[in-house]
Subunit: 174 residues, 6 copies
Amino acid sequence: MNKGRGLFVGRFNPFHKGHLKAVQHILEQEEEIVIAIGSTQQSHTVSDPFTAGERLLMIRAAMKEADIQLERVYMVTIPDIHRNSVWVSHLCSYCPPFTRVYTNNSLTRRLFMEAGMEVRPTGPFNRTDYKGAQIRKQMAEGTKWHHMVPKAVWDVIESIDGLNRLQDIIHESD
Amino acid sequence: MNKGRGLFVGRFNPFHKGHLKAVQHILEQEEEIVIAIGSTQQSHTVSDPFTAGERLLMIRAAMKEADIQLERVYMVTIPDIHRNSVWVSHLCSYCPPFTRVYTNNSLTRRLFMEAGMEVRPTGPFNRTDYKGAQIRKQMAEGTKWHHMVPKAVWDVIESIDGLNRLQDIIHESD
Amino acid sequence: MNKGRGLFVGRFNPFHKGHLKAVQHILEQEEEIVIAIGSTQQSHTVSDPFTAGERLLMIRAAMKEADIQLERVYMVTIPDIHRNSVWVSHLCSYCPPFTRVYTNNSLTRRLFMEAGMEVRPTGPFNRTDYKGAQIRKQMAEGTKWHHMVPKAVWDVIESIDGLNRLQDIIHESD
Amino acid sequence: MNKGRGLFVGRFNPFHKGHLKAVQHILEQEEEIVIAIGSTQQSHTVSDPFTAGERLLMIRAAMKEADIQLERVYMVTIPDIHRNSVWVSHLCSYCPPFTRVYTNNSLTRRLFMEAGMEVRPTGPFNRTDYKGAQIRKQMAEGTKWHHMVPKAVWDVIESIDGLNRLQDIIHESD
Amino acid sequence: MNKGRGLFVGRFNPFHKGHLKAVQHILEQEEEIVIAIGSTQQSHTVSDPFTAGERLLMIRAAMKEADIQLERVYMVTIPDIHRNSVWVSHLCSYCPPFTRVYTNNSLTRRLFMEAGMEVRPTGPFNRTDYKGAQIRKQMAEGTKWHHMVPKAVWDVIESIDGLNRLQDIIHESD
Amino acid sequence: MNKGRGLFVGRFNPFHKGHLKAVQHILEQEEEIVIAIGSTQQSHTVSDPFTAGERLLMIRAAMKEADIQLERVYMVTIPDIHRNSVWVSHLCSYCPPFTRVYTNNSLTRRLFMEAGMEVRPTGPFNRTDYKGAQIRKQMAEGTKWHHMVPKAVWDVIESIDGLNRLQDIIHESD
């Protein structure tokens, strides 16, 4: 195992099983992980239905359920800066120093690469199996979605009346 | 012990012994604590010399040194919103739900009070013993400051060349 | 009649007959109304062709034409904050205290509901009869639109060369 | 009497007798007045203790007490834009068209002058008799201030616990 | 030839032959030109792939290649302000005073016209021959695009690995 | 002579003889210079009385008067970002690539140094001989200031009624 600290960036709306697999994969490669929760200024929208605090709750609950040691995990909440050219600096200022970045997003990879940082894929998992947009759509439509997120995340979503919120949001944005 | 979750807000530039005593006091009253690190968009200024990530490092290191269980602690990084009338909502959106607020700051107390929340003092400690502004001043001037911050915080400050940074900042703002 | 103050939120681009009916309905239920004009930072766009000042002129003219007493009406101009989680606080800070909210928008209803406020529908009127987007489209295309807005609003639109403006905006955004 | 519409800009924290005299003076010169309430994003600070909605309440109450017809008065709430070079355009976008500006502030006069607008003094009254900063200071210190504001404004300040708020704010900013 | 200074506004992502013809046309009409590079806060997006600095490099290289005297050219870099009602003032504050505006964009024409300025078309050239959106699309798809931009611009794009950047951006935004 | 491109950052309110000496010094060391005009969103304040466009005019006029070739000079206008941790990236995104930075400001030096860039002093000149704050003060007070700025700058200041503007600004901020 590497002795480094890996960065993992996402919006986590909601935190799903693909995210969890990526976290576990990174923790096999690195001693510590920094989970950077982005777009934290957003909530109650089709893309970002949950607040930063709610997303933090989901991730913490999923970590506990999966027996991941908190000593190895940093979580940070980072608002958007809407400027790609300064985004890497912005993100770095919110994080403890990290050794490399794990991402499957080609823009994220490019921005870190142009800043001279090492980037790796988040793992051998199929990115299309778990897509936030798809999960949110199914939550709003009332079709099957539970199998795509860790069980601990269900409870958080229920405790905040999350399904009704999503339906109100999507109904208005039609 | 209360079964609630207490909120503790600060800028933590740097995290000092007064902060640590407050955290310990709150953890005697509540099951969990939310440490909200504010003004995270700021760094390299006289008031906020450290980045959000650096402050997070300091707090984590101090928690470990003081044997505080991470399972009981949430940390969130929150940028300023520069609007007192929405500050409580802004802060709440970044935090998991909390039961009450601990603060000795009269404006913070008033804003939470006007929002209908319960507010308590951070403890029986003298706020003037450990003041961030005083510590930063002494760091920049090169006079004795180590006794005011947890030992673990020294190391973080040294690892980021913090004293020289402070002196450069203060020199220019004269 | 209720002795309260009802809030009515809109962008009013332009103020149309559906808005007027809602105002009259609310004034049957409440002693006073607060008309909150939103998105005031916007103008000269497809969604918000008119400035805040122009929209204010339209509403005032329509109030006068409909013999509504200004003593019972507050009007406030409120810029967007682009943060759903603080939007209720933001809006409240611009308004005199109000007793309840009148809206047919499901997101607005949810945000006020999550903030613990009472929300009622704007009245028994069909929301689809008068839709701002439809009116703007017809204004830009040069098809019949006058029957959908109070007569007093025509004059304001004419005085600011509103039709030509809309056509220039829509032409460019194609 | 002039047939125009005069603009009067202020922050009105609080609305005091000097403001009232200026309004009355302008209404002797013009048919209508636009009262532009500025810095509306601010509240709970030493300079701007009151929210935009609270300031609106004060002004409406004072208008009523002074028997000023609402038909002749427009009130608009305008956030700061922190850019002097666009401030006149910003302000104009929030207001119905106006004929001239009344101000005793030399920067405001210059900005409107550079934009090619007519500017007049707010009247033959001594600006130093009623100064917001002085009134706020006396409110916080608990010394005599009531004689400087219209009686109707007292009630609004009391209804929002305004004196205690000011003391909390000023205490913290020491 | 006119003795004035003409304004030419664009985003120049990238600077193409249509832009160059417009510059040459304006310099036949006016003594000097102000080239205002807009949306400078943006980069690494589908609409604005290049940074302000990179766009400046392209324009300078193209000027040199086309033997245009720098003594007659001002270049300014201007971030978006996202407020149409103040956009003209915003733009003017970044530019040396100019005599008239050259544009084929109907919204730009309207905004300057409402501000009382003279507006002329950018020339007898067909706007659809060279469209930034089309060029970016062809760059990302790997189809022929070189013939649409000045040769000097190719070199800048190559020196910043521009084609790969565009492909990464577009791939992610699908 | 070095074959690089040197960066020189300032607010240039106004461009004075110390700035000119620095430019000449850098052009002895480097093939090209990038003059970055900062705080361009500001004007009509005590610290930044001139608009970005006016400062650009001053610098161009002074370059011409001093026979500096425009082929060797890039000028960019850069708004503040109010975030020290991303300021270097922000600035770089507005500039063509540069080889090293010339500054006597200890905070600027530190920020570039932490970003891994080479920094040099602006030259053997005494920074205290020409200070913008001192020049603005003397302009506002009507005492001797002409000897501190290039003659070409006088004309620009006169053409924009600069002295009266400064006096209006300073009078109001007392």
